[in-house]
Amino acid sequence: MAQLTMIQAITQALDIALERDENTLIFGEDVGLNGGVFRATEGLQAKHGEDRVFNTPLAESGIGGLAIGLALEKYRPIPEIQFFGFVFEVMDSIVAQMARTRYRLGGTRHMPITIRSPFGGGVHTPELHSDNLEGLMAHSPGLRVVIPSNPYDAKGLLLASIENNDPVVYLEHMKLYRSFREEVPEGYYTVPLDKANVSLEGNDITIVTYGYMVREALKASEKLKAEGISVEVIDLRTVQPLDINTIVKSVEKTGRLVVVQEAQRQAGVGAAVMAEIAERAILNLKAPIGRVAAPDTIFPFGLAEHDWLPNEEDIIAKVKEIVAFD
């Protein structure tokens, strides 16, 4: 098995998908010769041809419309939105069109579209590039929102998303792209959608998180372990719809919960997890649910990112507070 970065795992998954099914098409801004601004599609046009991997005009709504039209012609589009901050330009196509097609047509048509996009903070992008807009997507019935936290999952979840006959918004945290390597099997495999992963088993408290914050939570857990606090870390992987069973099971065991998200506090995935636990497992709770999130401002100016983004220390402090509650 090779040691791959997350972006290498993603490229490998796309290569395999193109190989396995001639109906798969990759398109977007600069995905061809240039291999995408992060090189996620590097070499794929040369290998699979300009008919399968191609650049589009720089217009996101056009990319969304193209995906829908191609899906109606029984293709399996894998469009790339260059940065997820640009998603507002294509909201109608994603939320009002592809997400509702199966419902609207009484279950008679598929929309097997996997929209890939880099997102997340901490890499010093210009304005309107980073942002954590997964909550906006999660709010839209008919979409799956998938966010991997490591190379192995990235490859398996991407292949599962591409195989899926419903639209998937597949978000790749930019800070995870090249920050570490992991063993990734060569060939084809999938990691199931809609299933959370217990990244770390523990008994005292449950942390539910996803994306880059899984890394921070794991680092925090190691330090907390040294202080005698046993943390269970759940990586949602699919942030919408939620794998409620896995979360409830863990909370039933630990009796304490902290949700961690990089996105602003005011809405989003963490709030949904808290609401579900309040509804389904409140009597198992020995303490209030804790939340670690970014403040409710617009995504910060680059030089202030470090202060703005939630991190390991924030998680440690919140976990200690919840554990200490009596």
Binding site: S61, G65, G69, E73, Y103, G107, D194, L242
Partner: protein, 371 residues
């Protein structure tokens, strides 16, 4: 070369005029039923001419009957079509069943002619999912409500047809208001860049609800928007069925031959309100505007033309109207028989593989529906 020398790139007025000048309006059959452009008369057989007129009459009758049904509360949303019969049915006449139709909310007549059973059109109007469940061989999407969305989708479908090597096109309709949407430009630009076989229609009926065409853009015509996408643009007398057919046929041929898309602006009019949901056109149109367009009625001019050719008479018209009335009655009856919709079915149609939270909700609603 002298011409090039005299061109002054800073003569803005001249530049605008020169663009306006290359978009004349195509007309073949004038308001009195006379051929005014012999060279462009389409090669349609007598029975095809009769069939086209019959479809236009059918559409007018459908409009009139639907208006009554809507006023009786027996339909839901209804956008009148009277006045647009040539723009809608004579354009559609140039396409075949394999071509993919992306209609707007007013384009129900083309959808039915493309293969949508009439009772399903009524069910769509009423807000029943059965109205969106299409027969296998119907190459169309349900009517689009967001007025630019179908334009980018048609570009995608056109690219798909090209990639599959199919000798078919996608064709799509929006209105003068729709041509102001960003998606309109993205769609024609994408199709142009990819040389996708798509025919785009702007049915310019003068008003986007109450907003007049003059407020949509500073451009003198909507057809000239094609210039920015580098594709052909044509303006047609949308009340002239022969011109509508001839231009549409030429556009389809051009697209199928691999040349890419065509944009067609049809100059037409809706004789009625925007929809029957409260719009009163007298608030924003004066009587002169109604009278002017009444005189351009596509049915009148086509009827004169066919009658003079000996292809049409009053008896034929009466028989056709009776047949249409019966067809509409039967369709209403069928629509009335549609089963009550279930929320549990809606939930089942959210995903191919239901998620556990959706499954819970299905169970909840099935229990409620079973009571």
């Amino acid at each position: 070369m002298a011409k090039v020398k005299s061109f002054n790139p800073l003569d803005f007025a001249k530049q605008v005029e020169s663009v306006d000048a290359i978009f004349p309006t195509v007309q073949i059959l004038d308001e009195t039923g006379k051929i005014v452009n012999e060279d462009l008369v389409p090669d349609l057989k007598d029975e095809e001419l009769v069939e086209l007129f019959s479809r236009m009459l059918w559409s007018r009758a459908l409009n009139d009957r639907s208006t009554t049904l809507a006023r009786q509360g027996r339909l839901g949303f209804f956008a009148p079509t009277a006045g647009q019969e040539a723009s809608q049915l004579a354009s559609h006449f140039a396409f075949d069943k394999g071509d993919i139709l992306f209609p707007g909310y007013r384009d129900i007549p083309q959808l039915v002619q493309h293969g949508l059973p009439l009772h399903k059109a009524f069910l769509w109007s009423r807000g029943h999912v059965e109205g969106n469940i299409y027969p296998e061989d119907l190459n169309a999407m349900p009517p689009q409500i967001i007025i630019g969305a179908q334009i980018v989708q048609a570009a995608g479908a056109g690219l798909g047809l090209k990639k599959r090597g199919k000798k078919q096109v996608a064709f799509t309709y929006t209105g003068d208001g729709g041509s102001s949407q960003g998606d309109f430009y993205e769609g024609i630009n994408y199709a142009g860049a990819f040389k996708a076989p798509v025919v785009f229609y702007i049915q310019n009926n003068g008003y986007a609800i109450s907003t007049p065409r003059s407020l949509q853009t500073a451009a003198k015509t909507l057809g000239q928007k094609a210039v920015a996408a580098g594709i052909p643009g044509v303006i047609v007398d949308g009340m002239d069925p022969l011109a509508m057919y001839a231009v549409s046929k030429a556009a389809r041929d051009w697209a199928i031959a691999g040349n890419g898309p065509v944009l067609i602006e049809t100059l037409t009019s809706r004789f009625g309100p925007h929809s029957l949901s409260g719009d009163d056109p007298k608030r924003y149109r004066d009587q002169a505007s109604f009278d002017e367009w009444d005189n351009k009625d596509p049915l009148i001019r086509f009827r004169i033309y066919l009658t003079e050719k000996g292809l049409w008479d009053e008896a034929k018209e009466t028989a056709l109207i009776e047949k249409v009335d019966q067809e509409i009655k039967d369709a209403v009856k069928l629509a009335d028989q549609a089963p009550k919709q279930k929320v549990s079915d809606f939930l089942k149609n959210m995903f191919e593989v239901p998620t556990n939270t959706i499954e819970e909700q299905i169970a909840t609603f099935e229990a409620k529906e079973g009571k």
